[in-house]
Symmetry: C2
Subunit: 338 residues, 2 copies
DNA sequence: CCGGATCGTCGAAGCGCTTCGATGATTTCG
DNA sequence: CGAAATCATCGAAGCGCTTCGACGATCCGG
């Protein structure tokens, strides 16, 4: 492997000049710059990452902590991950992949040993134990999610309260009066992943604001759970004309059960899903949905990390506004008067 | 951050002694070792990764190249990825996540800049352009998959030929004589991902060996594709009593279509899937399946990389034997005589 | 009781890069 | 036209670690 000295020799300049050509931190004449560039290309020179990190205390690597197999749906995790990698690359950074199961120790390990410049953490819980560890690190961190007390740590996420409101507004506009929420599994609530609660809060508030009759119900991610959930909903709120489903795992099963029940979507019952676009599109029927913009959120997380590293200002909490896209699963209720 | 010098001072020894305690490359007396350990713990010392890499030319990082959104199913990719991360951690390595779309350049970048000790590459194609680049790197690489000419590069994968044979043997044993293969989408074949071909080869060979009447058909991953595929199969091989499905994307839809068609699984038609265990289990009916052991393959890839790094011997191509697990989707055909 | 192993530790060099201060050379301007 | 400012480049120090050779100290056998 060629070193910076080889390049310097080949270009007839000093190593520091090569370094300055590379970093642009000092003006270098066009002529010299060209010679150096040619030498770099000819020798196939790539700066040694470790040496660079040692000298500059910058690694150009971001840590990404992903849940291993939580109740978060796998495709969504992948979408976040690829978004983070892609965005990182466009900022000339690489991504070190950590799993949540390494816990606090993993974060401290990579941070203390200076493997990364910043950390992006997915799937944070309301009272996540990792938060205090993150606050102590010299590297900044960005959460995807929103804990109870985000003080001192940047957070980005979808605005789930607004998402719930958006879904209800759409249904109310069509004339629905009785709407049920099929929520995440009880495990998600128990675990304290706040997006579930935030959605619930938004749902309840919007329901009141719009004067709707609503009921909310968590849903276990299996056939039995779905059946039980739908049965409970019917029992608690007879004459429901619309469902908001905030649970990708069961989305498909809900549709199947409705169908098995002889209820046509959207003729007999409307369905609005909260899920990534492509999930909404690969269902038997293209679903009206509020997008979970994993790509945007991931990109924003990286962007935020970069600003933090550059000492630029950031908004500590950034909640992206939701977008509802109407597709084929929502329509006016069969009888406009609920 | 504490440095090795701080530790040395605190323990009353020289920095090199601390280093030797850490690496175990030279004998250090119990007494000294303890003092050093205490100092390390007290100061919360973590060696600087860059400095270490620079001095030792070892990064303790593995690159993992994942397909971004190929026709490979996302959960499988995630399973490989988490398996690789977990296994790497157990060997004291971290994982740098690269996406396939960076192509050859990405591999060269991380290798030339000495960011990683070895590379693990998923989703290799028959004639993958990245192969020649990989061969030139000073770091070893391990492929998950099997290209046409794996010369000089270690490969690990499931033995897909054997997997096909296993599926057919199971069905033949039950007395099925007419079996159809619902294969991956044409795009997968076109792309030259060899697992599809290997499965097909194994399927055809075993079919002949067992004296079965079979037909094989790729399948587009949408409702229309599934319908077309099933219709074609019925047209080409009337009286089919069993399906082997080597396409996770459509698995669920195949079951739905069969059901819509009034064909009961397994009473009217048996189904054997080639997919990860948990996919087989989360279907409406637990499926008899040949496991895709992503976890094992990922672990083996890491293990192989480690052996390569340690200069230990390896088998250049390692194909894991398949395991068929009988569940509820296979049974004897309605009439034992096909 | 002495010469040669063996053991435990140290000091120094060096890994490849960045960065700071210094230094000529050139330009600018009063 | 000379002092001051600016420009382009260089040299050297230093980032934090590993590793090699060296060196006393302890051990062994004869």
């Amino acid at each position: 492997m060629a070193t910076i000295n080889d390049v310097a020799r080949a270009a007839g300049v000093s190593p520091s000049t090569v370094s300055y050509v590379l970093s642009g931190r000092r003006p270098i004449s066009e002529r010299t710059r060209e010679r150096v560039r040619a030498a770099i290309a000819e020798l196939g020179f790539h700066p040694h990452a470790g040496a660079r990190a040692l000298a500059s205390s910058r690694t150009n690597v971001l840590a990404l902590v992903v849940p291993l197999r939580a109740d978060v749906s796998v495709p969504v995790i992948m979408q976040f991950a690829t978004a983070v990698v892609t965005a990182s690359r466009s900022h000339n950074h690489d991504v070190l992949l950590l799993t949540k199961d390494e816990g606090t120790a993993g974060l401290e390990r990579v941070a203390h040993s200076t493997m990364v410049d910043a950390l992006i953490v997915m799937d944070v819980e309301r009272d996540d134990v990792r938060l205090t560890a993150l606050r102590k690190l010299k590297q900044p961190s960005v959460l995807i999610g929103l804990p109870e007390d985000p003080a001192g740590i940047a957070c980005v996420d979808l605005d789930f309260e607004a998402a719930a409101a958006e879904a209800l507004r759409h249904l109310a506009w069509y004339g629905h009066r009785r709407v049920a929420l099929v929520g995440p599994s009880p495990a998600v609530y128990r675990r304290g992943t706040t997006y579930a609660e935030r959605f619930l809060t938004g749902f309840t508030a919007a329901s009141a604001g719009l004067g709707l009759e609503t009921v909310t119900h968590p849903c276990e991610p299996d056939r039995a759970g779905v059946r039980a959930c739908l049965a409970d909903i019917d029992a608690q709120l007879p004459g429901v004309t619309a469902l908001v489903v905030h649970n990708e795992e069961v989305l498909r099963m809900v549709l199947e059960e409705l169908r098995a029940d002889g209820r046509r979507v959207p003729a007999d019952i409307s369905v609005v899903a909260i899920c990534p676009r492509d999930v909404a599109l690969t269902m038997p029927l293209p679903l009206t949905s509020v997008d979970i913009p994993a790509h945007d959120v991931g990109g924003l997380a990286v962007e935020t990390a970069m600003r933090l590293l550059d000492g630029r200002s950031i908004e500590p909490v950034r909640l992206l506004p939701p977008t509802l896209v109407e597709r084929e699963s929502s329509a006016p209720p069969a009888t406009a008067a609920g």
